[in-house]
Symmetry: C2
Subunit: 275 residues, 2 copies
């Protein structure tokens, strides 16, 4: 069971760390050629440098897809290289209805064997069913994102009925609690941006058991301590993603050592909050 | 300009018809081998049979992506085959923030040269900016979908402020009007399911100039006449997608003739509403 393995890894490694892999030729250390082969060599070194300190890897599909079919071949090679012990997330934010949702689920859970996929829940509960039908996979639903535009729609006041006399929620609260009520907590996880630590507390009050995937630590400025204090639960409950601050911490030949040190540093800070 | 070409085509052909290409090996006519080559041959015959009657093609990316990198190669070959005169839509429903959104835009507008891409607006206006930065491309934002789950979130009552005393909207109305206010009407289009013809009228009251992409005609049961009466505007304003009812109307050797007849039939019904 993927969930149980994730929980065990967090306890064993005393870490919530997920390393985000967003390969960008223009940011890679200068020692690598600006080619797909260069990206492969760079990513495998980052994986080697960080795997002892992290419990998950998140592959940002946008950064592979942009290379067309060759990018998907690269994705497949990176997947094959990643350690089987880790929780492997496709950050693809897919979302569609019926047959299309089935195909997206098949893509990431069969064609490519990810443990988890990020999805948009906007289209409704029935649009998520095909993803959840893979019982040993996790489905990470977009809740509240770290961008300023999250106030445009996600943070609007909404009624869970046709009467404005009924109680209001913030839209992302309604979405998260509806999904958590409908799906098993071992499968349903939620994306919550680290730059919104006040929201992590309110979401924890709504969903005590589900895991939260937290991007926005590091380059985006989220506060690690606040996130852990507000977000952790009895299972661990947090997958804290750090991307640029590890991958692109150095563009010199020592990038691997620096990534190792950064990942170790994050893990040690996280360990302070683990019994 | 893609918009002007779309408007001209609608007038010239007296058609709103978009043919949806959702290739599924298990539904193809028996005369094709169940392989990617079989899909290519099938799709090109469907394109030949329908191109005189339709103004657009919508490629459902889920049905290509499921084959991994080979599916993207197929997508590229189909794109190369499609007539340059038509409006070519990537139905991919992408949506992410900042750098990731930039990569998705680059994927569909540069790596693959689509005219338009379907996107999710849930993450906010700033998440859509990278797509709109391609000034000669159209961005088709998910509004109201045709599934029953659209009531879970899209149809909730919402306030456009922090006060519950302020007027309410349905969530999809707020999303559509916000996006229409922010982006040029020649670029911003909206997905509205044909099974919700009451909604098409209300959306037309909010956005008089923007195009609506209407799926759900045919197999999903939407009413063509109602959709056109409520939805058309001075530019045409409608892209009406028909998928299964044309592609899979016959699984015999005569599938091409049947697709031709079906497409012609839709176009003739549509022409009744054009001056």
């Amino acid at each position: 069971m993927v969930f149980d393995n994730l929980v065990a890894q967090i306890k064993y490694k005393k870490s919530f760390l997920c390393v985000g892999l967003d390969p960008d030729m223009n940011k890679m250390p200068d020692c690598f050629p600006k080619s797909l082969e260069g990206i492969y060599d760079f990513l495998t070194e980052i994986i080697d440098a960080t795997k002892n300190f992290c419990i998950a890897y998140k592959l940002n599909i946008a950064f592979f897809e942009v290379f067309g079919s060759k990018g998907w071949d690269l994705l497949e090679k990176i997947l094959a290289y990643l350690p089987a012990s880790h929780f492997i997330i496709a950050d693809a934010k897919r979302g569609d209805i019926s047959h299309s949702a089935e195909k997206y689920a098949q893509t990431f859970f069969e064609t490519y064997s990810f443990d988890a996929l990020t999805v948009s829940g906007y289209l409704g509960i029935d649009s998520l069913e095909p993803f959840f039908s893979y019982k040993d996979k996790s489905v990470i639903i977009l809740g509240l994102t770290s961008n300023s535009g999250s106030q445009d729609f996600q943070q609007k006041l909404v009624h869970n009925s046709i009467s404005i006399l009924d109680p209001t929620f913030l839209f992302y609260e309604l979405l998260i609690s509806s999904c958590a009520n409908h799906f098993n907590y071992k499968q349903a996880m939620f994306v919550v941006g680290a730059t919104k630590s006040y929201a992590i507390q309110s979401i924890r009050n709504l969903v005590s058991k589900n895991f939260l995937l937290i991007p926005g630590i590091g380059a985006q400025g989220g506060n690690l301590e606040e996130v852990i204090k507000e977000g952790k639960n009895r299972y661990g409950g947090l997958i804290i993603n750090v991307g640029r601050d590890i991958m692109y911490a150095s563009n010199q030949n020592n990038f691997g050592e620096i990534a190792y040190q950064k990942a170790q540093d994050y893990q040690q800070k996280m360990a302070l909050f683990m019994k």
